[in-house]
Subunit: 238 residues, 2 copies
């Protein structure tokens, strides 16, 4: 990532920061693989974790397109687990326990301290596709000191639908221009920017493993680009 | 309060505790009066605070009864402020700023530490009639370390309607019997118990001032009666 990209376009500091969680705050790939290994010792745990996550977007797509009502991500994860298990030729003894892998993700190392710093100056909340229950339990395990839980469940729809960002802003009784979306994924930021939010890109270049080719660089005119959450806190609030 | 009432009816410890906030966690009367005095130095600030709070139940009643769609409490508070100001013959110079009194309530002295202790063993969340925005800002000022914000806004209705308690339970993906409602108000606990929740009564005998006559004692067979939040933590989790 370029060292020289300044914080730009910030007319004023955000009053709230809302965060993508799965790849931006937590290392889902390594964490899920570790738990898969405990439950299904015969499979390639990383390949299984990636395949499980691979079902994520297709499962949400039906809901975004209106072909299915809102179903919490916990249930989609369980459906996807059964589908991927069949593909790998295994049957989890306790699917519900394995499904709770998504509540036990490790944060990236800078995240707990970085969030605590940001929280001193602004409201912080997830704007994730995870449910309130999932985000709540994950926060307890990963030490994510959220002020409240926003995201898909309060919008009853999934990112990157505009309503999800706008529902988060409305729940805080703020205007979109007072809220900053923080993500490691350019498409998430494009969607948030399109409805008027400030944006911060924080790359997570090993979210998909050491050979990752996507989201290594900002692809939009984001309000801020930071190396990690501590750097974000420094750039926004000094 | 009797010293001898034991914790009763607890088949198992709650996985989550949900809390009434305005009188149970915070001293709204003293706090609002202090801020009223700053904004309206000519009025009897305690009388004004009590009159403002007196409009609370009537304003919600219309919504509970279906005569009006869900309106966040922030807006009801502002409507009630204008009504009470007229009655007292005053005009706030900045009604929005005065309305934020409800975001700046002092916690009862045991609350921050007691909640931190409870949080080590269970999910903790408000189940208040306050909005997500109001509960979020109040938590930041009063040091209430919630795991998430539940209550009226996610139910789109007001306590003591059963749906508000059940929406909180559902958001946590738990059963009602796994969740304990904590309140200083017996009617709140009656409503929660009626839909299957565990209940804890924590009296706040000066919520309405030194002459308070209501809610000094438990009036139901609550799962637990505690002197304060630290006592509640000890009774539930040792």
């Amino acid at each position: 990532m370029p060292q020289s990209i300044p914080t730009r376009g910030l007319q004023s500091s955000p009053q709230a920061l809302i965060f993508d969680v799965f790849g931006t705050c937590t290392d889902w790939r390594t964490s899920v693989a570790r738990i898969v290994h405990d439950h299904l010792p015969t499979v390639d745990a990383v390949a299984f974790a990636e395949a499980w996550r691979g079902e994520y977007q297709p499962a949400m797509a039906r809901i975004r397109e209106g072909g299915r009502g809102y179903v919490p991500l916990d249930d989609l994860h369980l459906e996807n687990l059964m589908r991927v298990s069949a593909r790998f030729g295994v049957t989890p003894a306790d699917p519900d326990a394995l499904n709770r892998a998504w509540e036990a993700l490790d944060p990236w190392p800078d995240v707990p301290q970085g969030l605590a710093r940001l929280k001193r100056n602004a409201i912080i909340a997830p704007c994730s596709n995870g449910s309130i229950a999932l985000m709540t339990r994950l926060a307890r395990q990963a030490d994510l000191p959220w002020d409240c839980i926003l995201g898909a469940e309060i919008a009853q729809d999934y990112k990157p639908k505009p309503q999800v960002y706008l529902a988060a802003v409305a729940a805080l009784r703020l205007d979109p221009g007072q809220v900053m979306m923080v993500a490691a994924h350019n498409d998430d930021l494009h969607a948030a920017q399109a409805v008027g939010l400030m944006t911060a890109f924080v790359p997570r270049p090993t979210e998909h493993g050491p050979q990752q080719t996507t989201d290594l660089e900002p692809t939009g005119a984001w309000s801020c680009v930071a190396h990690d959450f501590n750097d974000l806190a420094m750039r926004l609030f000094g």
